[in-house]
Amino acid sequence: MMHIGNLPFIVAMLLVILGLYALLFKRNLIKMVIGVSLVETGVNLFLVTLGYRAEGIAPIYTHAPTAVSQVLPTPQALTLTSIVIGLATTALLLSFAVLVYRHYGTLDVTKIKELRG
């Protein structure tokens, strides 16, 4: 019997696989960017799930209840950093998609292949 606590990990992996699916089989560049974002979301979900501890509370002292153990904030910090990086990469990818569209007049990935061979 699978524990319910494993569900987030499964969802995370599903998100990663969905993202890879989009990258592999979708032909539109914007959809591929969405694929990259999905992979990223999956990894972030995985990271933040790692930080979960049963009965633990967020590591914030402001108005914290006493006598409750707090979780180590490292996974949250990792996730946040990863989100920040994800913002930068997504913005850059979309900018390049705009440029590619301006030059090639299409977003079809199979038509954007001047660099080959």
Binding site: V39, L47, S82, I85, L93, L99
Partner: protein, 515 residues
């Protein structure tokens, strides 16, 4: 130990970062100030890297640990080190030297590379960000910061590849490379997450003490190998590399090669220091060897048929990554039995890193000068540039011969070490490596003949400005110096780096964990 030496590890990263953030503001003060500022930042970074390497090598090669926002030892009562740390051992210092060389040369070359003088501040900014990222990659002592620096290099590198937004192919290359870099970075992050979930720590030394070869460790290793080998440009995941190197501005191509080598460094770090002998090293070693042979072979054969000068050199660069991968793969495959040739192979592989970056850098810069002068990059329409660009011609020839491993240049010295040691494991490996070198010589003979020899096909090429020539001369001096005195350099800087991989795991862990 004075303050500068103590803080050298972080100053190496912080100085180019300062350059990156300040460049757009400084750029408003005009071209002269901007150039002087960039030069100062690059020179300062180079000095810090030299200082760090000198400290480490004269100090007997014991790893230097720098803790951000605090000091060692760890606060009592903690099982795992939680602070951000930089850890510098022989190999990190060696990579820092390579990066410093590339940084100084790239900045010097960029001074007069751009014909128009506007927009250069953003270029400086991205270049320094890339350099800071590469320095971070090779100096960091924890897995998560490793990922952060990996992404910094990705963003900066792709910004630079697509910097010439008016060029059709630059945008295409930048989009593809960015997507692949991001994906590889995410796989690395997934591996980091797996390791964190398993052991509750991110510090490399801490993880190395705990890794036990469980299934989670193996999955993480597979993700790390694939992600980092992709970023290093190993065949069959190399397709982005010719596009990135080929479409980036010439000095950036050189820094990108250093960036790929930093990924390779990270792969070696993960294999030797993080995993060590906690898993069956022979199998992993053979994975690397197979990837390496494919890389060497496909790299050179594809280079032979390229029609675009920079793309041709780029495929040459891909093949050279294979030599390092081959040498260190052989070293890792025999890590458990530890015969003599294992260390020789690693020495050759690591020595080849600095040789490769100097030769390939020289070729990219010379090609950049030739392309800038002639306005063309098509091998078919170029020709006869030797008539007017005499210096560049000689420098290109030096780089080409050195890369193909012609004695007495530096490429031969390191390749000899690789041939002789890989021969001990299996003669087939050495034979393929030698054959590929011969084909590579043929490739560059073709490029040289097509671009520089023959009648003047380009009517009036522009002269090459002196900063560009000077930067190429620096690299050529490295090429010839390392070629004529290989024993000296191997003794001084390569052996400590090779030892750090071969037998340095214990020292690396002890430097952080104590005991």
């Amino acid at each position: 130990m004075n303050a500068l030496t103590t803080h050298a590890p972080i100053l190496i990263i912080a100085t180019p970062l300062l350059g990156a953030f300040a460049a757009p503001l400084i750029g408003k003060l005009g071209w002269t100030v901007r150039t002087a500022f960039a030069g100062a930042i690059a020179a300062l970074t180079g000095c810090f890297a030299g200082l760090l390497a000198a400290t480490l090598y004269t100090g007997g090669g014991a790893p230097i640990v720098y803790v951000l926002g605090g000091r060692l030892p760890l606060p009592s009562g903690l099982a795992a080190p939680i602070r951000i740390m930089l850890e510098v051992d022989g190999l990190s210092a060696f990579m820092a030297l390579i990066t410093a060389l590339v940084a100084v040369v790239a900045v010097l070359y960029s001074v007069s590379y751009w014909k128009e003088r506007s927009g250069g501040a953003l270029y400086d900014s991205l270049l320094f960000l890339l350099i800071a990222g590469v320095f971070g990659l090779v100096l960091t002592g924890d897995m998560f910061n490793f990922f952060v620096f990996l992404e910094i290099t990705s963003v900066a590198a792709c910004g630079l590849i697509g910097f010439r937004t008016w060029r059709k192919r630059s945008s295409e290359a930048a989009f593809k490379v960015m997507a692949l870099y991001t994906l590889s970075g995410l796989f690395v992050l997934l591996a980091v997450g797996l390791l964190y979930g398993q052991y509750g720590g991110l510090n490399i030394a801490y993880l190395a003490t705990n890794l036990g070869g469980t299934m989670v460790d193996r999955v993480a290793l597979a993700l790390l190998i694939a992600g980092l080998a992709m970023k290093a440009g190993a065949v069959p995941m190399h397709m982005w590399a010719p596009e990135a190197y080929g479409e980036a501005p010439a000095p950036v191509s050189m820094v990108l090669v250093a960036n790929s080598q930093a990924s390779l460094y990270a792969l070696f770090r993960v294999l030797f220091t993080l995993y060590g002998q906690s898993l069956s090293a022979a199998a992993v070693g053979w994975i690397l060897i197979v990837l390496a042979l494919l890389t060497i072979f496909v790299g050179v054969t594809m280079a032979l048929v390229q029609k675009d000068l920079k793309r041709l050199i780029a495929f040459g660069a891909v093949s050279q990554i294979g030599y390092m991968l081959l040498a260190v793969g052989v070293g890792f495959a025999v890590l458990a039995t530890r015969p003599d040739f294992g260390l020789t192979a690693i020495t050759g592989g690591i020595f080849h890193m600095i040789n490769d970056v100097a030769c390939i850098g020289l070729l990219f810069l010379a090609a950049g000068a030739a392309i800038r002068a002639s306005g063309s990059r098509d091998l078919h329409s170029m020709g006869g540039l030797a008539h007017s660009l005499k210096g560049t011609t000689v420098l290109f020839a030096v780089g080409a011969f050195a890369l193909a491993g012609v004695p007495p240049f530096n490429g031969f010295a390191s390749k000899l070490l690789i041939y002789e040691s890989t021969f001990q494991l299996s003669p087939v490996l050495a034979v393929i490596a030698v054959l590929a070198s011969i084909v590579l010589l043929a490739v560059f003979v073709r490029a040289f003949q097509a671009v520089f020899l023959g009648p003047r096909l380009i009517a009036r090429p522009e002269p090459v400005p002196w900063p560009m020539v000077a930067s190429m001369v620096v690299l050529a001096a490295v090429v010839i110096g390392f070629g004529l005195f290989p024993g000296f350099f191997i003794d001084k800087i390569v052996t400590p780096a090779a030892n750090a991989l071969w037998s340095g795991q214990g020292d690396y862990i002890r430097a952080v964990m104590g005991g």
